[in-house]
């Protein structure tokens, strides 16, 4: 088991000090999916969902959520992220929409949480806009796909 360096304060939440970490370019890519009925997916693709343009709205919600991460996740550092991209792929074989986000920063700490939060809130927005016709949608497979920059080097998920 990996050892933890500062066990003495365990049990007490704290926002760890990042002031000695190097300022470097950092990137995080996250992914997730929302699975729905075939008929719901068709409404999204045809852009005929009652509440309006689903993927365009989810993209804006995800970008705003990336910026809101330090207000949502208690121990995240406030960060000035450099960019956020969110993309959607419709996967008709599994009746789902795959959501991918890419967040970059030049700073002292990584942006994994920003990328994961962007994917989560984009998925929730899709759920909200389609829920009048489909209450059984499932959000899943939210994971970190890639992380670059910083002390711990490059992480690439073996399988996703």
């Amino acid at each position: 088991m990996k050892k933890l360096s500062h066990i003495d304060t365990a049990g007490k939440a704290r926002m760890v000090d990042v002031s000695r970490k190097a300022v470097t370019k950092r990137t995080a890519v996250a992914r997730g999916a929302i699975t729905m009925k075939r008929t719901t997916l068709k409404l999204v693709r045809d852009n005929t969902v009652e509440k309006g343009d689903v993927l365009g709205s989810a993209r804006i919600a995800g970008i705003l959520a990336a910026k809101n991460t330090p207000r949502l996740i208690p121990l995240c550092h406030p960060l000035n992220i450099s960019s956020v991209y969110i993309d959607f792929k419709v996967d008709p074989t599994k009746n789902r929409i795959i959501i991918e986000s890419r967040v970059t920063i030049t700073g002292q700490t990584g942006v994994e949480m920003e990328a994961l939060t962007a994917v989560s809130v984009a998925a929730l927005t899709i759920y909200d806009m389609c829920k009048s016709v489909d209450k059984e949608m499932v959000i899943s497979d939210i994971m970190l796909v890639e992380k670059k920059g910083g002390r711990s080097g490059t992480f690439k998920r073996s399988r996703s």
Copy 2:
């Protein structure tokens, strides 16, 4: 395919009018899970994660997120929710933590999104607090389990 009543505005996002819906007691229950390494799960259970008390922090983050839902999800109505409960079950056979939320309101629209957002942000908080020892955690199976009150009556997910 279920027919949509107000197709004429399709393609334009809008926050639909709820002013004619009845004021009733409404409840929503949502669930989700975060899967992690066995050793990570042990750290959470032993409360020895470096960043502090994981489940207690995730519970507070989830409750605050339920209240933040209309600021995160563009077309959600601002609501005065009556209560939020969040519970965690450690499932050691699958190396995961199951998160369940229950939100209630006496109002004109349901609180599914509040319950789903609470689960999502609680899961993200667990991810954040454990990510220094485990980058491969996966958040999944976020779904609506039950919904009571309002015009559409009671919904219970057949299998979850």
Copy 3:
């Protein structure tokens, strides 16, 4: 000059008490415009602005802003608005986009500020998305067009 009823506290900002006002259905319609170069307007209409779908993003930003009004305007009451609609009309004769919002509530106070804030933030979002090609855009003619419900009855702007 119209007399003010509670002059005694003049000079000290306060959020006035609405608790004795009737709960009624209230509607506010606001309007505004953003004028730009002909070539910029063409980019918006062709949906080829570098930052993406301008009007779709501005609509979402305006809806979220309507909900944020009590956090932006110091003396506005927190409200649970029932609906927000935002529409855009391209006016090629004057090289401008007209923005119109309609906000409804069943409550004790009106939603003029929500409607005006929605228009303002939608206009600012259009500015932001087009500013790399046009720094001389002007936002103007933000006004209340109509107001219904409540003690003061119906207001309709004579000319707009």
Copy 4:
């Protein structure tokens, strides 16, 4: 027509990457006006508006709004602005109040949106505080007056 460099993603909103832009001192000056009845303007000047000190409250609201810009405008970068100044000039010949903001930063991207948002929210606050006596106020002429620093050099509006 000015060419856009990254047309390939047109139609999909995105927060563009600023990580390669130089860190420089940047300034933006914005301006706008709110026109009202002569009697309303007198109430503001005499500081006898029922809701309290109009210009002092509008100044605070505008400063807070400048800091809130990245949460209001979807594709704006989160920024640590260095200063915000807001000034008002009463223009009795046209029965209006002119609002001017100046925002500075040492950073990788400009602060035009912060300056424009400060002016807009200050104007909306004036509207809110005076609306019980004047529903026909109009907010207009919100524009960027000057911009300094960064790759695109100094911009000065020819006429304002």
Copy 5:
């Protein structure tokens, strides 16, 4: 010792259910003080503090904070408060400013936290605006003075 009714969930934070409480008019009055050097108090009274009008700014900050209470205090219910008043009294004999807030609502739960939060943030704003000349200010005696409405009836602090 007063008995607690729902001890079974002790140790797990939760937002308690208020949906069965009566909708009544409720009022809360809170008070606090900030003590400073005699010379600092003089600057505030003369309105010559470098950062500007101290009490006017603190009043606006306190009102906004009352509305922000459910986003700051994890287990507070989101509420549509009906009014907020904040007053200041300069107490030269003790070199301090006394801050008093009064918050009202017609709702299912009280507004003590809104009143206490308004006082606290008003005091912090005074601290911020004066701290360049006085780092030894002390905020104290923040307390609930009076509470009316609701099941528990009227509370009046015996001595304050």
Copy 6:
């Protein structure tokens, strides 16, 4: 009396320019206390307060509040703080809980307000969670204990 350098703008709130201040490591330590009935303090220590884990929740609320400081205190600069720690000491001789926060940053301006805000909101959270059994709690002695880094050098409060 200490002289103020920019008296000319007195009476008008403004967010002062920090762009010429040096980027240095800065630390602020703040402290405060909440006094309660002996029986209330026992409930907190035994972790049997109805609303749940008091100190754990207050710690999370305080950390989030430190990050929210520029949205609460009008003239505070937005900052990317490097760390926040919050600790509680139960002082049974005076029936009170002492709250201490430590905030650090590498930046152009100090973090006193972040440290003081963290203490204040942690105290308010304790109040909220215990108020059903004790309405007479008092929050007091909120003060800056220590400040390091920046032009004005080290400040240590002589007595606290």
